[in-house]
Assembly symmetry: C2
Homo-oligomer: 234 residues x 2
């Protein structure tokens, strides 16, 4: 065996070699299986796994039991200004923005939701989950909530900008208040956003109102913090 270079542990050195080869894969590609990789590098599978662990921690790989190990997109930086609407403000910066409707449901409002929207507790809420992609990369998950009486306005919404969809139907919204935080994603969020579990999310709870100042929309967005910053200007 080659024991001449003992500067780095073997698994570390392996991790470096693998890191250097990842550019040959497109994001979303699957790596060869652990056994074949271990054979190729002539190491034990555990040692190879240890090396992959490093790349998983760095957010370059995503493991799925029974399926394989997927190469993730390298993080990109999109400094952005978001005083207004998600889609519009990003499109204005020349980014390709897409919104995919994931789910739509009606459920009773919790107490805090009812308070924010000035409804009676338990009133039916219309809830829309959308995934936002920027330049084809998933960046944010947004959950919008409206009083169920708004349903006719949103019945034919399938994707794209929610703000402009509503505006085209005579409902113009503006931001009344936001609460910004950060946390780690759960497994579903990490999977939907193709991101590692340990990379932070930026979360924004926003209450929006119509021109008359009545609260209309409660939205909760979770965005990859490595792709997204939030600008506030009075």
């Amino acid at each position: 065996m080659d024991l001449s270079r003992q500067e780095l542990p073997l698994y570390r050195e392996l991790a470096e070699r693998l890191r250097g080869e990842l550019h040959r894969f497109a994001p979303g590609d699957y790596l060869p299986g652990e056994l074949s990789l271990a054979a190729r590098f002539a190491v034990n599978r555990h040692t190879l796994r240890r090396a992959l662990d490093e790349l998983v921690r760095e957010g370059r790989l995503l493991r799925q039991k029974g399926k394989g190990t997927q190469v993730l997109a390298q993080p990109m930086i999109y400094p952005m200004q978001a005083g207004s609407a998600y889609t519009a403000s990003l499109s204005a910066q020349g980014h390709g923005v897409e919104a995919v409707l994931l789910d739509r449901r009606v459920r009773p409002a919790s107490d805090t939701e009812a308070r924010h929207l000035q409804l009676d507790p338990g009133s039916p809420l219309l809830e829309l989950d959308t995934l936002r992609l920027i330049d084809e990369q998933p960046v944010s998950l947004i959950r919008h909530r409206y009083c169920a009486s708004r349903e006719p306005l949103l019945a034919d919404y399938r994707g794209g900008s929610l703000r402009s969809h509503l505006a085209a139907r005579g409902l113009t919204l503006s931001r009344a208040y936001s609460l910004i935080g950060a946390r780690l994603p759960d497994s579903e969020e990490a999977q939907r956003l193709l991101m590692p579990r340990h990379a932070p999310l930026l979360t924004v709870l926003t209450l929006s109102q119509d021109l008359a100042g009545r609260p209309v929309e409660l939205s909760y967005s979770t965005s990859r913090a490595d792709c997204f910053e939030y600008q506030v200007a009075p």
Copy 2:
């Protein structure tokens, strides 16, 4: 089927048991050796190590080769909202707020700093690093930057609220613009804030101006996201 109980992996269950026993140690104590712990729980040493890995990732343990594994102080949770001035808004909520001056230096401004503060690139900047504690727990690190000509105003600042220190000397500041993001801490930040490396930080870059609208202060704060949320209201 008979899947009434979904069992956790052994190393996870072990991690939970160990987590529950950590309170019996004082911060700084060393755990018993891995071999003796493995024997006590009747598992292989690798399985015990895997369990310890979890607690290390959570920031509860610190391993030192050849020495032992040390129990760290537990983080705690302070859900809260934070609006305008750091010290004032938090004090108003009944929290004990403290600011400790860590470092003070003068250095030339970078291009972006100069642009924000409307100075010539390379102009001398006065930079103050402070640690903010809420109810005796470190929560934020803030770096303030001013044009060096403000030095007389700040020469006798030793700690406490910077805003009120400046206001008492005739300089009233207001927030002009903020950029909010999230990231993981580096090792120094994690150490200063007594937090684990993998828990997210909320970062806020703020430009503040005087009553005449001239930019005066550029601050960059990093706060434990588990202790801190950021509220924006127009």
